[in-house]
């Protein structure tokens, strides 16, 4: 059981002496093994929200609870996948993937098995002794995702993981992530700028508003996805289905309202 509960979570930053409310009182509940996408205009605090679950930021007020326990700092049960990949440049693919496993005291046999499993799943066999700089961006992010999955975290936190990839690689990665999420379901908080990505991947999409950062609306995706059987179609086809474009339009309208001030 790894659910996430936000209870009146507020985060105020000190910006050169003047307080800035990044998150203004969020109450929200994420079910165990639920995939949540978070979209919102820049400055709405979506990354801050994720970082508080990771334990990399502390709420000014309120509490974040994971599996019933208040988050007090970073830990391997809440692994983070970063936009910048954040692979250790001096470690091989093998040592990067098993970094977290070693924290948890995995044996050599367990580590070998996990590396073989993930490299096969990602069609990256034979790269275990490569260094990150020898891999393409997409492969680097696959390694980072494997590093997080390998420690079997209750919660996976992804901060725009595909934001630094080209459009083509991004599409492939989205499909792969759906596949991975199906064989290995987790509670996921997925931060993104891309509305399509958010709708395609999630069970529910949170649309955030800003000044201060808050939950503007929650859109249900899972029901429609199962009804229309998205997962058995290639991503390009899904994105042309009416069920998809309808939901995407709904999220877009909300976002546009929130960004109104920008135009």
């Amino acid at each position: 059981m790894s659910d996430i509960r936000f209870e009146g979570v507020t985060k105020v930053f000190d910006r050169g002496g003047t307080p800035f409310t990044a998150i203004g009182g969020i109450d929200f509940y994420v079910n165990d093994k639920e995939f949540i996408s978070v979209v919102g205009p820049s400055g709405c605090g979506k990354t801050t929200l994720m970082r508080m679950v990771a334990g990399l930021e502390t709420p000014t007020d309120g509490e974040v609870k994971v599996a019933g326990n208040t988050v007090r700092g970073p830990g391997p049960e809440r692994a983070v996948v970063f936009q910048q990949f954040a692979l250790f440049p001096w470690k091989t693919v093998y040592d990067n993937i098993t970094f977290g496993m070693r924290s948890k005291g995995a044996t050599k046999a367990e580590r070998d098995e996990a590396v073989a499993y993930y490299l096969k799943l990602m069609k990256m066999e034979g790269t275990e002794n490569s260094y990150p700089h020898q891999l393409s961006g997409g492969m680097q992010q696959r390694v980072a995702i494997a590093r997080s999955y390998a420690i079997d975290p209750g919660v996976l936190l992804m901060d725009e993981p595909f934001g630094a990839l080209d459009a083509q690689t991004r599409t492939i990665m989205q499909e792969e992530l759906v596949r991975l999420a199906r064989v290995n379901p987790r509670t996921v908080l997925f931060i993104t700028h891309s509305v399509e990505e958010a709708v395609y991947l999630a069970d529910r999409v949170i649309v955030m508003g800003r000044n201060p950062g808050r939950v503007r609306e929650v859109i249900e995706i899972a029901g429609m996805r199962e009804e229309e059987d998205w997962t058995s179609h290639p991503i390009d086809d899904v994105m042309e289905m009416e069920s998809f474009t309808h939901l995407r339009g709904q999220v877009w309208r909300l976002l546009r309202e929130e960004m109104g001030g920008d135009r």
């Binding site: 990399l56 970073p74 830990g75 440049p89 924290s103």
Partner: protein, 256 residues
């Protein structure tokens, strides 16, 4: 022009320098007592390597100097690098250490000689402490700067994948700061070697610095000059070895 093709120019410079030096004495412009010429110095070095001077052969003096240098330098690196990494990692630690450190940095290594002798004696302990005070600062500063330059996301990735502070220091901060640390070690070795010779001029009864003092009291400028040449040459070798290590690290890690 490549570095290799420049070597003849470097050699030409050396030959010209030593030639002029030998020349002004041979022609009689300067007396050999005031400025011992290169050929005399080479002969003196050869003699001192075969006949003990001030208790030991020349290379034995050099070996004892080098051992002191090595211990002091190793101690400075062993303490300085972790201190620097911790300053880069923990803001509070940085605030506590910085004023002390900045103060110490402006006290010349030689100013420590009286206390080094008082606390650790004039055998091996005192000189090691003097080298330590000379070599410590660049180790700390470069480890600190290197740690500050480590990508914050790498530290956060380590934290959210279960690594404790010790593992973060060893597997993230240290390798991330390595190019900067190695550059610091080179500066540190140079300062340490200089401080050592200074210390030997004042205390101890062996070593290259001691040879100089003895040469001075024997009114033998050629002995003093021989010791200076040996000091310079050894410094050059130390620098060359560390320069090689630095190039290797940079090639593997990329610049920083």
């Amino acid at each position: 022009m490549s570095r290799m093709s420049l070597i003849p120019y470097s050699l030409a410079g050396l030959v010209l320098f030593f030639g002029l030096w030998q020349g002004v004495v041979s022609v009689g412009l300067v007396s050999a007592f005031v400025l011992p010429p290169p050929l005399d110095v080479i002969e003196r070095i050869w003699t001192m390597m075969n006949r003990p001077f001030a208790g030991f052969l020349l290379h034995e003096h050099l070996a004892s100097s080098f051992m002191r240098f090595f211990y002091g330098f190793a101690l400075a690196a062993t303490i300085g690098i972790p201190v620097g990494l911790m300053m880069g990692r923990f803001r509070l630690f940085e605030e506590i250490i910085t004023p002390l450190f900045e103060g110490y940095r402006y006290v010349a290594p030689l100013a420590w000689v009286p206390f080094a002798a008082l606390w650790f004696g004039t055998g091996i302990g005192g000189p090691i402490m003097v080298i330590f005070t000379g070599a410590f600062a660049p180790c700390v500063i470069n480890a600190y700067r290197g740690a500050r330059l480590v990508d914050r996301h790498l530290i956060e990735a380590a934290q959210t994948h279960g690594a404790g502070e010790f593992r973060i220091a060893r597997e993230v901060l240290l390798p991330g700061a390595l190019p900067s640390i190695v550059a610091g070690l080179r500066i540190s070795a140079g300062l340490g070697w200089q401080s050592l010779i200074g210390a030997e001029l004042i205390v101890v009864s062996s070593g290259i610095g001691y040879v100089m003092v003895q040469g001075q009291s024997n009114l033998s400028p050629s002995i003093v000059m021989s010791a200076m040449i040996v000091i310079g040459f050894t410094g050059l070798v130390i620098d060359y070895v560390l320069r090689f290590a630095e190039a290797r690290v940079r090639a593997k890690w990329g610049g920083a």
